[in-house]
């Protein structure tokens, strides 16, 4: 073999290696680029989630109802965390070491490289300790988050609802993967219902880190960062001053108040007492506080406005009147004899007094039981159910907070099921005629019903939120809620409304709340309660000729409707219509007229 041949042997060998290397390079760089790039990013880019502040809630006059304030959240990046620091961090954050360790273990895969929220709303003392020992406490860091800030003047606990750290159950159930451990979600009330608007959209900052996890800077000078979108602000129909006043009037009582604008269904105030301080839930929630609320015999977490199912008592009488007239059983002028009691079968049903032959308007004014005992029988179960449904009973009003009860509106099927086919007598309808017996209504159903009467049949879905402010472009989106007309002739509504007018302004059961300045209308009611004092109801609206507020007040175990509920309702209606100077005192004097409902 001469040298020239050898030269070409060597050249060929080099060429083979060159081809082999270029093939390998093209495999890595041209065909596997995507995968290896992802690998490379995963390596060196840390994703910091930026949680935007939740939307703010404003009242109908632009006053802030629910605000935000900054707080510190401690985060730990599991991949960087040094186990030797476990005890120190555990005592610093007041989290048991085992719990902390378990928590950190639960982060798998790439999540291990990103900071996880470990404890919210920590003291500045903790933050300064972390900042001073940053080098030693590898992987432990903090970020500023917004947490809820509530007014000290009032609670609104059942309306706004509380926010809390997302539970493992919710994390598991969520569709998609928006929420991560440590995220805050609306857990009740408006916070829960409007979660998707209030929460905004998380942003992400991409931080390049070196092999030891030290931050080098923003990836691509922050150009790739995804900025968060702030939560949308909610404009509520609520009147902050009225809400505050309503809570004062209900202080230390058990019961519920809801007032709406009858023309729209916008909720003006919403009180369920006893309630609780939402700020207990804003940051770290002490489990003891939560369980004490949960186990309180007065049930402060229970939303009495939408969850109670009490018989409406005499406040039901407008319902009966309208149903009977619409069904053709009576006319506005036809009369029924009311002589103090009513005997059906072998049972006597009592009344407060004997009123003689009276028409429907007068029957409402004096709350004549006999009139409605008879009407109940006359109307029959099918019409009872039909017209009840028309006014929203036995179903949800669709108020924009969760866990509303349907209440109970009996029907033929219901009784058949409960007592057996044909094993019940129409006698049940006697009590049902005066709103007692197997009938369950909630204050929100009652206020919607009252507003519909005031509006001569315009039934509006009660709701809190009127507008949503889009945080991207500061435009307002009007919320649409259902409005429907109840098909009952105007003259029947006139007869009923006249009765409600006389309840306050005539010789009726609530003349104690008559106002010189505003024409208030309403109806008292007392729900019989076998296991304690009766429940006190009042529904009403004002002014008579142009209703601007409809209200329902329920006093749990407070006795007669005119004693407890009517004065509160009256004070609130006057306050709403007349403004601050009508705010007389924090405590309404309860009249004692004894025997009227």
């Amino acid at each position: 073999m001469d040298l020239e041949k050898k030269k070409y042997v060597i050249y060929s060998l080099c060429a083979v290696v060159l081809i082999l290397f270029i093939t390998r390079l093209s495999y890595l760089q041209l065909f596997n680029k995507e995968e290896l790039s992802r690998e490379s990013d995963k390596n060196s880019v840390k994703t910091i989630t930026v949680t935007p502040p939740r939307g703010i809630m404003y009242d109908r006059n632009g006053k802030i109802l629910v605000d935000n304030k900054p707080s510190y959240t401690v985060t730990i990046t599991p991949s960087q965390f040094d186990k030797n620091n476990l005890n120190e961090v555990s005592s610093l954050l007041e989290i048991p070491a085992e719990e902390l360790q378990e928590n950190l273990k639960s982060f798998k895969g790439t999540n291990r490289f990103n900071p996880a929220k470990i404890k919210r709303d920590v003291d500045f003392r903790v933050i300064s300790h972390i900042a001073e020992n940053r080098d030693r406490l590898a992987g432990v860091d903090y970020q500023t988050d917004a947490i809820r800030l509530y007014s000290k003047e009032f609670h609104g606990s059942h309306s706004f609802g509380y926010t809390s750290e997302i539970s493992e159950k919710m994390l598991g159930k969520q569709i998609g993967d928006y929420y991560k451990q440590g995220d805050v979600v609306g857990s009740s009330g408006i916070e829960s219902n409007y979660e998707n608007y209030l929460r905004g959209v998380k942003g992400y900052n991409f931080i390049t880190v070196d092999v030891k996890g030290r931050e080098i800077g923003q990836l691509n000078d922050g150009k790739d960062n995804i900025p968060p979108i702030n939560g949308s602000d909610l404009i509520l129909g609520m009147d902050k001053d009225l809400q505050e006043y309503a809570e004062k009037l209900m202080k230390d009582k058990r019961g519920a108040i809801i007032a709406v604008d009858p023309k729209t269904g916008e909720i003006l105030c919403f009180v369920s007492k006893p309630d609780f301080d939402l700020s207990l839930f804003a940051g770290k929630t002490d489990p003891k506080v939560f369980s004490s609320l949960l186990n309180d015999p007065d049930k402060p977490l229970f939303n009495r406005v939408i969850q109670t199912k009490y018989p409406p008592g005499s406040t039901w009488k407008m319902m009966m009147s309208l149903a009977a007239m619409a069904a053709g059983e009576i006319t506005p002028t036809s009369t029924i004899a009311c002589n103090g009691s009513f005997v059906f079968g072998n049972r006597s049903f009592e009344d407060h007094g004997a009123y003689g032959n009276i028409n429907v308007t007068r029957a409402i004014e004096v709350s004549a039981n006999t009139f409605y005992y008879k009407l109940g029988l006359q109307l029959g179960i099918d019409n009872y159910n039909k017209y009840g449904k028309m006014f929203g009973f036995g179903g949800r009003t669709g108020i924009d907070i969760p866990n509303e009860t349907q209440g109970l509106l009996p029907s033929r099927e219901y009784f058949n099921k409960r007592y057996g086919e044909n094993k019940w007598t129409p006698g049940l309808l006697v009590s049902l005629g005066i709103g007692q017996g197997e009938l369950g209504v909630s204050p929100v159903q009652m206020v919607a019903y009252t507003a519909a009467i005031a509006m001569d049949g315009l039934y509006c879905q009660p709701h809190f939120v009127t507008k949503i402010k889009n945080s991207m472009n500061d435009t307002y989106e009007d919320m649409k809620f259902e409005q429907r007309r109840i098909n009952i002739p105007q003259k029947y509504f006139d007869a009923v409304n006249k009765g409600m007018y006389l309840v306050v302004n005539g010789g009726g059961t609530a003349k104690n709340i008559k106002s010189e300045d505003f024409v208030l209308c309403g109806k008292t009611g007392t729900a019989q309660n076998s296991s304690g004092n009766n429940h006190s109801w009042f529904v009403g609206y004002a002014p008579y000729d142009d209703p601007r507020i409809a209200i329902c007040v329920l006093g749990e175990n407070q006795g007669w409707g005119n004693v407890f509920s009517a004065p509160i309702a009256g004070a609130l209606m006057v306050r709403y219509l007349g403004g601050e100077q009508y705010e007389t005192s924090d405590e309404i004097k309860m009249v004692n007229q004894g025997t009227q409902d």
């Binding site: 050249y11 080099c14 060159l18 270029i22 390079l25 041209l30 596997n32 680029k33 390596n43 390049t208």
Partner: protein
């Protein structure tokens, strides 16, 4: 006059060397500029110094170099002994002299001295090469390489030892060793590689070696004996393999499946593959490589410098670098072919083999097809001894071109 310059100076090597050294400096700058070290300025200083030496050497007549070669060799051996006694241990190997803040690696210079000595030894007969097929000449040639290799293995520095061994075969091939004997030397390597992959591959390797031996049509008994020896080597590989240091075993294992030990020996391979792969066609741009800038690759300015090129300059950059090396190797082999001076002819083959071996092992390692053996990428990796030693080789290579017509 212009033509004269091209006749007298190996402009191709000069330009390619400048390109490679320049690329190396760019890569070192990118790899270290955030770290606050002065690797770049040191390398730049010694690159200028080395280029001056290279050009200077290219004018030195071959016989002076040949005469000096034995002295170089003896001095090198002496230094290799001294480094074992006084050397500084860096990452497990005692291969450095620390001199005023700089590390000097005698083994880098021993490469040149050994090649020159071997070349001198094999070329002393005026009209050509010594006959290496004579056992005595062969053994002497092997002995020249043997001494420095033994000393370097004592450091221990397996990579550099392999470099010394890598140049023997091409030189023997070049000076006319019988292909049959060469194949007999290579065959155990093929067998061992086969054995590494498992029994099927081992048997296939034995069959192939046997068939090729038969093709030489030598004495059948000798052929059978050789095959049997190879079989014995193949089956004793397992025990040999277990005599390797555990980290060396792991490194070899990790080549074939880096994921077995992603944070240990496989880490570098995975990270460097990720770095190179994520570069794509044109790379992420100068100073934009996240893998390298963020130090996911250890010692990226030395043995893993090719990752920088791959990540920041992409496929295009990688291929250009490969082509530059191929140009150097081709030109050296061509100088070797053209050179009437047999001493320089052999030396150039030795230099090109060394560059080739460094290239294959280093680039092969970064792209994940070779074990992680710590040897630098010629003229690009940071390392003063290595840089100077390669530039001296290139100077001698250029002188081979300049004096190609002198005997």
């Amino acid at each position: 006059m212009n033509k004269n310059i091209f006749e007298r100076i190996d402009v191709l090597i000069l330009i390619v060397v400048l390109a490679l050294v320049g690329s190396g400096l760019i890569a070192i700058f990118s790899a270290t500029y955030t770290s606050g070290t002065d690797y770049f300025s040191r390398q730049l200083t010694f690159a200028i110094f080395g280029l001056v030496i290279m050009i200077g050497i290219s004018f030195v007549p071959p016989r002076i170099i040949a005469r000096a070669s034995y002295i170089f060799y003896v001095v090198s051996l002496l230094l290799l002994v001294l480094v074992l006694i006084f050397g500084k241990k860096i990452s497990g190997s005692k291969s450095w002299f620390s001199m005023g803040g700089f590390g000097i690696q005698p083994s880098e210079f021993a490469k040149i001295a050994t090649i020159l000595t071997l070349a001198n030894f094999l070329s002393t007969s005026e009209d050509g090469f010594k006959n290496v097929n004579k056992p005595l000449v062969f053994l002497k040639a092997i002995a020249i390489v043997f001494f420095p290799v033994v000393l370097i293995m004592r450091q221990p520095d397996m990579g550099t030892s392999l470099v010394f061994l890598s140049m023997i075969l091409p030189i023997l091939f070049w000076v006319g060793m019988s292909p049959y004997v060469l194949f007999i030397i290579i065959s155990p390597v093929i067998i061992v590689l086969g054995a590494f992959f498992g029994m099927t591959y081992l048997i296939a390797a034995i069959v192939i070696v046997g068939l090729i031996l038969l093709l030489f049509k030598k004495n059948i008994l000798v052929t059978v004996a050789l095959v049997l020896i190879n079989v014995a080597i193949g089956f004793s590989f397992d025990s040999l393999y277990h005599k390797l240091q555990p980290y060396q075993q792991n490194r070899i294992k990790a080549v074939f499946d880096p994921t077995t030990d992603p944070l240990g020996s496989g880490y570098n391979v995975i990270q460097s593959k990720v770095a190179i792969g994520s570069g794509g066609m044109f790379g992420k741009g100068f100073l934009q490589g996240t893998q390298t800038q963020l130090k996911f690759i250890p010692e990226q300015w030395t043995d893993f410098i090719y990752c920088m090129i791959g990540e920041e300059f992409g496929f295009v950059g990688c291929v250009i670098i490969l082509l530059l090396y191929m140009l150097i190797i081709f030109q050296l082999v061509n100088n070797s072919y053209l050179s009437k001076n047999k001493f320089l002819s052999i030396a150039c083959i030795g230099f090109s083999s060394i560059i080739f071996f460094h290239l294959v092992v280093n680039v092969g390692m970064t792209i994940g097809i070779m074990p992680v053996i710590g040897i630098p990428l010629p003229m690009m990796s940071y390392g003063i001894s290595s840089l100077l030693s390669f530039l001296i080789m290139m100077g001698i290579g250029m002188s081979a071109y300049r004096y190609r017509n002198q005997y």
